[in-house]
């Protein structure tokens, strides 16, 4: 059996469509989808079973069709193999196509579909496979690394731009795997060199023309996200633990990386964003307008525009930024329904009024890309309060990180005045200094009383600053390599800090000033970038981009549920705004511009008691013939 046959990212998952070309079997379906013209919202449902007739639970079932308000609609099969889209309006859809994915399974033959009442019912056969090498996400190949910060550092530094390892990387790694240890180590150091060049090559326009920089530009730690100190941690680990071949992965081994899957009432909608390919849809936000309509916004870091989506209708509008604003990074709404945006490249803060569609902007920090140890300000993340809204301190100030200089900046929006606070030292080499990208202050939150902001440093600590005295108060050391990025806070000032490198959730009580616990994800290389607290279900959501799934941490039971996504390659998931009234989560796929796709906004409605009731009502005994 050709194991590489279906390698395409991890599109070893098979696709079926109803009117159709199967990748296995090669039999065309000749089922006609007649419409009944029925008045009710006709359901589409079905059952997935294996060739022995056993039901298969946890299968990702995705519908695409003309007439859907989103590009795709996805749910999961229940433990009895059943799936249902109760309100899909199946009789009004045309060009329907069904895609089935589950790691460890491939489809067999033709799905049998028949009309039942006013809806449609499908029966899908799959076959279990034991070698899942062509299907597993990149994170799975990191499972053999030790649980140490030096190994975590690899996920932290590599997964911020791409899955690691991804197919091209695997092909390259296989090229030198047979070399003796000392030579393999030398190659990994050269890979680090190459990645330093890539970090500059991705800069927009002329700034990305690497040929015009003197070579010493690339070896200066101030121009890179990781330092020589980090390379000295990562390279020995890579030399010792990176797999040498990528053609075999046992199904049973992959099961160890999984949490229980979301229930069959889960609904995931993906909405395609428009070209150009070279975009990076970074952060997302949701805002209800005065009339109650919920809109989702996403910011393009590369092209100066914001996307506004009505998830209920699928209506999508592009909204350009005012001239001169570049590098849109963070979007956070405030309690008045206005959206605050940081512009990382041009060094601005912007506040957008969705009702009048007007902007107010302020210059904040030093502009431009990092230059040696000088460092552009690179205004990064705005501190927000529980519920993901902009935090204002007692004087009405807004706090943000300057990722390029290891500083925080406080902006007074009334006067435009700014004040800067140095972040704690992270132990960089003297010739590099502390005011650089490597020290990287990242995400921030504000306590309920507005008196303290807590920020993370990518290569350092979790620390707080008093918003009145402007002085550092607490410093919580985090091992270098574990990589805290974008944290969240609940209404009791409990901090939830996803460790991007370590693949765990650090929980810290900011009032009691002590760590509550650390909760590792089942897949330690999933690279959780950010977290958001949901008041509706008292849980914390994280994106596991490198594992192509979302995780929900239930605070009461301290347990994870996972929500694998229908799109898998290249995805990085950044901020996750949550509708605190319903517990629905929203996020965008955010691959770096060079990777070109997928560019989609996503609305994930997790299983709730209400949804489960609706699903159970629809006929459950679809047997096909």
């Amino acid at each position: 059996m050709k194991l590489f046959e279906f390698r395409n990212g991890y599109a070893g998952r098979m696709s079926l469509s109803m009117n159709m070309r199967t990748l296995i079997g090669g039999v065309c379906a000749s089922v006609l989808m007649a419409t009944t013209g029925g008045a009710m919202a006709a359901a589409l449902e079905g059952r997935v079973k294996d060739v022995d007739g056993q039901p298969v639970g946890g299968v990702i079932v995705t519908v695409t069709a003309k007439g859907l308000n989103s590009n795709t609609l996805t749910t999961y099969t229940s433990t009895n193999g059943h799936f249902a889209f109760p309100d899909i309006g199946a009789d009004k859809l045309t060009a329907k196509s069904l895609r089935i994915q589950k790691i460890g399974y491939v489809p067999v033959g033709t799905p049998k579909i028949k009309m039942q009442g006013k809806g449609y019912v499908a029966s899908v056969d799959v076959k279990h496979i034991d070698n899942v090498a062509s299907q597993v996400p990149g994170s799975a190949w990191m499972a053999g690394f030790p649980d140490k910060p030096a190994a975590h550092s690899i996920v932290l530094n590599c997964a911020q731009c791409h899955h690691f390892p991804f197919p091209k990387a695997m092909d390259y790694i296989a090229k030198f795997s047979a070399l003796p240890d000392d030579q393999r180590e030398k190659v990994w150091y050269d890979v680090m060199k190459f990645m330093r060049v890539k970090a500059i090559a991705i800069a927009p326009g002329d700034a990305g023309d690497v040929s015009k920089y003197p070579l010493k530009t690339f070896s200066h730690d101030g121009n890179n996200g990781f330092s020589k100190q980090d390379e000295a941690m990562m390279v020995p680990m890579l030399t010792k633990y990176m797999p040498k071949k990528f053609d075999t992965y046992a199904f049973a081994d992959y099961q160890k990386l999984l949490a229980p899957i979301g229930g069959p009432a889960t609904l995931i909608r993906e909405y395609q964003l428009p070209p150009p390919d070279q975009s990076m849809w970074h952060d997302s936000a949701i805002v209800r307008k005065k009339d109650g309509t919920l809109f989702m916004y996403a910011a393009d870091w590369v092209n100066p525009r914001m996307a506004r989506l009505n998830p209920a209708t699928g209506e999508l509008r592009m909204m350009p930024f005012p001239k001169g604003l570049a590098g849109a990074h963070t979007l956070v709404p405030d309690h008045d329904g206005k959206i605050w945006v940081t512009f990382q490249v041009s060094s601005h803060m912007g506040r957008f009024d969705p009702e009048t569609e007007t902007w107010q902007t302020w210059t904040v920090g030093k502009s431009g890309w990092t230059e040696g140890s000088e460092g552009g300000g690179l205004i990064h993340s705005i501190a927000y309060k529980a519920g993901f809204e902009v935090g204002f301190d007692a004087g009405g100030g807004v706090w943000s990180s300057l990722g390029g200089t290891n500083q925080l900046v406080r902006l007074d929006p009334k006067t435009g005045k700014t004040a800067v606070v140095d972040g704690p030292p992270t132990g960089e080499a003297p010739e590099v200094g502390e005011r650089t990208l490597v020290s990287g202050i990242y995400g921030g939150v504000m306590t309920a009383d507005g008196k303290h902001v807590w920020f993370t440093q990518l290569e350092g600590s979790l620390f707080s600053v008093n918003t009145e005295t402007m002085k550092i108060e607490q410093i919580v050391a985090i091992p270098r390599g574990d990589g805290p990025r974008r944290l969240t806070i609940d209404k009791n000032d409990i901090l939830y800090v996803p460790l991007n490198g370590a693949g765990s959730l650090l929980v810290y009580d900011a009032r009691a000033k002590k760590t509550v616990g650390s909760y590792p994800l089942p897949d330690r290389a999933a690279a959780p970038y950010s977290a958001n607290w949901d008041a509706f279900s008292n849980s914390v959501w994280m994106g596991g981009g490198s594992a192509s799934r979302m995780y929900r941490f239930d605070v009461a039971s301290k347990s994870y549920t996972e929500y694998p996504l229908p799109s898998t390659e290249n995805i990085i998931i950044r901020t996750i705004p949550i509708d605190q009234k319903t517990g629905d989560v929203y996020f965008s796929y955010s691959p770096v511009a060079l990777l070109k796709k997928p560019h989609m906004m996503v609305w994930l409605k997790p299983d709730t008691a209400e949804q489960a009731k609706k699903t159970a009502k629809v006929s459950t005994d679809a047997s096909g013939s």
Partner: protein, 112 residues
């Protein structure tokens, strides 16, 4: 006669220089487009050997069709071992014709 020859020699020399500049310009354009400068430089060793180092090592082989083919395949498929343990990345986006053109232009590069 000697004056005419002298002037011809100068003119040939000048057009040679013009050709060298045009070749280098074309080479730089192709190398930038195909991401070659992420590992190589024209005159300095970097992650990979410099193009002048490559030209020097294989001096005299540029008229050998099979050798040009071999180097063109290296560009497309990558490889390892010729200059150290670090393999060269594959560049599948480069066509055979383009790769051969690039190889020939390497041999036309002049020392600065």
């Amino acid at each position: 006669m000697r004056l005419v020859l002298g002037i011809s020699a100068v003119l040939v020399g000048l057009s040679g220089m013009g050709n060298a500049m045009a070749n280098e310009k074309l080479f730089v354009e192709k190398a930038k487009k195909n991401h070659c400068y992420e590992c190589h430089r024209n005159g300095e060793a970097f992650i990979g050997p410099s193009f002048l180092q490559i030209k020097d090592r294989y001096k005299g082989q540029e008229s050998n069709k099979e050798f040009v083919d071999y180097l063109a395949n290296k560009i497309i498929n990558g490889g390892g071992g010729a200059w150290g343990p670090t393999p060269m990345n594959s560049n599948p986006q480069v066509s055979k014709a383009e790769a051969k053109k690039i190889v020939k232009l390497i041999f036309k590069l002049e020392k600065q």
